[in-house]
């Protein structure tokens, strides 16, 4: 009880901090310097219609690289953690589970390609419309998830997933490095022509990068899910 009281008291303190932040907050009427720059320059510099995408992939590309790395790390660590567990439990995981229903199986067979397609669409069009690599990747992963749900015993090639993941990551970095060589700096997207605003093949390397991000994110999420699903409850 005392603990709750202490926590409440502390939260009151934190709340007070938040409260004064809230009260001190006045929405901007104008875009600030940085945002204005993006609004005005994205189109000609980057050629991406979706400014958020431009920021994510190019201006703050290093963040995104980090972000992808976070997922990569998590997937690796989850793999590491579960790999340790799996060695002991490999025997028991072979036991039979009841098959899922006919409807579910057929449905998933039907849906999976569609979902995959949707995912690809989302990340390929990331520079034009809302959505992009992360969302697309998540959608890709959900296709895998669906397959896992229908057939928990289904075996996915870890190797394939990890190769996909690695190659995507390497390409991302390679493109970034190419930016140093052929353009203004790391992750500069102008190593390809920016094209015209609104076209699919525009915005320099953004679509390419975003696609690989999508693949990578998809692979990473899938790897996590697959790893988790292959473990056994104790």
């Amino acid at each position: 009880m005392i603990k709750r009281l202490v926590v409440l008291l502390l939260l009151a303190g934190i709340g007070a901090i938040f409260m004064s932040l809230l009260l001190g907050y006045t929405p901007d009427n104008e875009l600030n310097l940085t945002a204005r720059y993006y609004a005005e320059h994205t189109a000609q510099d980057i050629g991406a219609a979706n400014i958020v995408t431009a920021i994510i992939v190019t201006y703050r590309g290093l963040d995104t690289l980090g972000e992808v790395t976070v997922l990569f790390l998590t997937a690796a660590i989850v793999g590491l953690v579960l790999a340790q567990g799996r060695q002991q439990n490999s025997q028991r995981s072979q036991r039979k589970l009841p098959e899922s229903g006919e409807l579910l199986q057929t449905g998933s067979l039907l849906l999976t390609p569609l979902i995959l397609l949707l995912g690809v669409y989302v990340f390929v069009n990331g520079h034009l419309t809302p959505g992009g690599g992360f969302q697309g990747g998540a959608i890709l992963a959900s296709a895998i998830l669906l397959m896992l749900l229908t057939d928990p015993m289904r075996h996915f090639s870890h190797r394939l997933i990890s190769v996909l993941e690695s190659i995507s990551g390497l390409i991302f970095i390679t493109i970034g490095v190419l930016g140093i060589i052929y353009a203004g700096g790391f992750l500069d997207n102008r190593i390809l022509p920016t094209g015209s605003l609104g076209q699919l093949f525009s915005a320099g390397v953004i679509p390419i990068i975003y696609s690989f991000i999508g693949l990578k994110v998809g692979a990473e999420f899938s790897s996590m899910l697959v790893n988790l699903s292959e473990t056994e409850g104790s």
Binding site: L22, D28, I51, T64, G66, I77, V78, G85, P130
Partner: protein, 118 residues
Amino acid sequence: MSYIAMTTGFILILIGFYGALTNRNILRMIIAFTVANTGVNLVLVAVGYMRGRTAPILDAAVPVTEAAARIIDPIPQALVLTAIVIGVGVTALMLAFVYKLYATRGSLDISNYTELKW
């Protein structure tokens, strides 16, 4: 609008903290943290919101020339995007720990993991 979202965000953070600090079940603590993370994301986006403007996507409705006057600040959104992904990464990691902790000790109670102290 942004005030509402921001307030909601802050409240979610506080609720999340409360949940994380009072529930002894580690799974619940993680759940509470995801709530708090969602709250943070709300706050972040709300800070970038500007009344009466549109999403930072250039299209027919928002030509390049008017962009500066028409769109809202895109940066917080970009940040949130990153934050969400990072959040899910950390959550997944914590979940992996939960699995492992449970596998070794068979308990989800945080107060059972105090063999290291002082």
